[in-house]
């Protein structure tokens, strides 16, 4: 399979001299679900902004969906890569949900019928069909975030980059948002999401990339990365409680544990195996 994202030796130096990315290389295949974690200032957002041309490489190569980013504008790339900002209010600017979602397709020069089709399917995907006439101002933050996702989806991008989808939301809204992203992933979109929420990473991501000081510190399956407790600690990241608990008893739990359900199952298995009479 051809990679959908191919970044080679990417460096980015901001005008103030900050060397934000130092030789980052990453290959992502279609359909992957990748969490990008690390402290603020570690290069996560700088990195994903290179994938649609919002930032340009100081040196190195960036290929997305078969296109060399340097040869294309941000608006050309919007058909291939969607970027949802951390704060939906930095992104939303129209006075109704449907106008916001129609904005991109209109700029592509699609016909009215095609645009209507895109509005309907995008709002259906994020569960906002009933609110298409509403002013985004009158929606909750969780709903505004869905509008932001819909307005990106309406461009039919192969890749979705979502910056901190659960920040500032309560637990249930966070879960709902990740479930939505998960459905989009199953529908074929490649997902990259930036987050500080380790339980959400454990629950949803299949692959984790850890940034530290402008470099990739770790890159692997979620189970592999959450096994590297010491390396994660070096950048002040701690896996979820249940993963840490299992790790402390790793003689009994040889595999990385990612959820309480897994932990309960493994513990029961272990107790039953060592009992003469099962509980």
């Amino acid at each position: 399979m051809e990679p959908i994202i191919h970044v080679k030796d990417l460096n980015h130096v901001y005008p103030n001299g900050t060397h934000a990315l130092r030789g980052v290389s990453l290959t992502v295949y279609p359909g992957e679900f990748v969490a990008i974690i690390g402290q603020n200032g570690s290069g996560k957002t700088t990195f994903v902004k290179h994938l649609n041309g919002l930032l340009r490489a100081t040196s190195g190569e960036v290929w997305v969906d078969g296109l060399n980013i340097n040869e294309h504008t941000v608006s050309e790339m919007a058909r291939h890569v969607g970027y949802c900002f951390q704060n939906p209010d930095h992104q939303i600017f129209c006075d109704s949900v449907e106008k916001e979602v129609a904005y991109g397709p209109k700029n592509l020069g699609l016909s009215d019928t095609q645009i209507e089709g895109r509005i309907q399917e995008s709002l259906k995907a994020v569960g906002l069909r009933d609110l298409r006439k509403v002013h985004p101002r009158d929606l909750s933050k969780g709903q505004r975030q869905r509008v932001a996702v819909a307005s990106v989806l309406s461009m039919h991008p192969a890749v979705l980059n979502i910056d901190e989808p659960t920040t500032g939301q309560d637990y249930q809204d966070g879960i709902d948002m990740l479930n939505l992203i998960d459905r989009l992933n199953q529908a074929g979109h490649t997902i990259l999401f930036i987050t500080h929420d380790m339980p959400m990473v454990a629950r949803y991501a299949r692959r984790v990339v850890v940034f530290r000081e402008g470099e990739i510190l770790l890159d692997g399956s979620t189970r592999e990365v959450f096994r590297e407790i010491e390396k994660l600690r070096s950048t002040f990241l701690i896996p979820p409680q249940i993963t840490m608990l299992a790790y402390q008893h790793r003689d009994f739990y040889p595999e990385t544990i990612l959820s309480t359900a897994e932990m309960v199952d493994q513990t029961l298995m272990h107790l039953n195996r060592h009992l003469r009479k099962p509980w």
């Binding site: 603020n40 909750s140 969780g142 920040t167 637990y171 500080h196 608990l245 309960v264 513990t267 060592h274």
Partner: protein, 290 residues
């Protein structure tokens, strides 16, 4: 222990609200307590803080019933300008709160406006910065600070008014893990070292359970649960019903014991990884002996 906050049968409906944001809430808080307030979006958490610091009814009008007393002052009948000497508030987004260019100016801002003599202001700046461990940032421009540093500047700026009660409205939701750790340690230290009364709204149940003396769970404008972290976590079904959760280790222990057909006492309920680790070891030891 003396009571510093007393809320009696508090109901409030915003002018344009369709229903009350708070419904018949009553509780009291003793001096030096650390209270964690949690609950889903729209539960009334921020409204409750606004009733404690006087933003309601002094800035937001609406239909207010019941009584709120903080540090001996009846909030609704008080002079809003003087409340900052009794109760300080730190908001979610530090940038929203800052009015100055430098850290020093920000921390001096409150006392300066009260016309306090400059030697006294200097002493307050020093103490406030020390208490949040940011004395080394005194001359820095706020715009150059990290989120965790900014939030500690916001706390210092409130401390310089010498309040008795510190309110914090989800102060770490915009921060990275380092910033979250910095802010929670600073708050905990204020609580344990100088006995500052803390009331903090947060979605971070693990941190609340670790730090708070009591947890209040709000949902739909009502106080649906209150008690020690253990008491609240034992009610995991109620927490989950309103869209919240218990710390993973507590959820694990409750689920494991129920699968084993055993009862789990409140004292056995683990609230952190170390507690849970001991519990597991005990179970495994039991199996080897049996």
């Amino acid at each position: 222990m003396s009571e510093i906050v007393n809320v009696e049968n508090l109901t409030f409906q915003y002018k344009r609200g369709l229903q009350p944001a708070l419904k018949g809430i009553s509780f009291s808080v003793n001096e030096g307590e650390f209270i964690g307030v949690t609950g889903p979006a729209g539960a009334g958490k921020t409204t409750l803080l606004s009733c404690l610091n006087g933003i309601i009814p002094h800035y937001y009008s609406g239909n207010l019933h019941g009584n709120v007393i903080v540090d001996g002052i009846t909030i609704a009948q008080s002079d809003f300008r003087h409340l900052a000497n009794h109760i300080g508030t730190v908001f979610e987004d530090p940038d929203f709160q800052m009015v100055s260019i430098s850290v020093e100016e920000e921390v001096a801002f409150g006392p300066e406006n009260l016309g306090i003599p400059s030697e006294e202001i200097e002493a307050r700046i020093q103490t406030s910065l020390e208490k949040t461990r940011i004395s080394h940032l005194r001359d820095r421009a706020i715009s150059t600070l990290s989120g965790g540093q900014k939030q500690r500047v916001a706390i210092s700026a409130v401390l310089s008014m010498l309040p008795k009660v510190l309110l914090l409205d989800d102060p770490t939701s915009e921060l990275d893990p380092i910033g979250t750790h910095e802010v929670f340690s600073a708050i905990k230290e204020l609580n344990t070292q100088i006995g500052m009364t803390i009331i903090i709204v947060s979605q971070d149940i693990e941190r609340l359970v670790e730090n708070a003396d009591r947890i209040f769970l709000l949902s739909g404008g009502e106080l649906v649960l209150s008690g020690t972290p253990r008491q609240v976590c034992m009610q995991n079904e109620i927490l989950e019903r309103v869209g919240g959760r218990t710390p993973q280790v507590a959820e694990f222990a409750i689920s494991l014991f129920s699968s084993l057909g055993r009862s789990l006492t409140e004292k056995q309920l683990p609230l952190n990884v170390a507690d849970a680790s001991i519990l597991i070891q005990e179970l495994f030891d039991e199996v080897e002996v049996g």
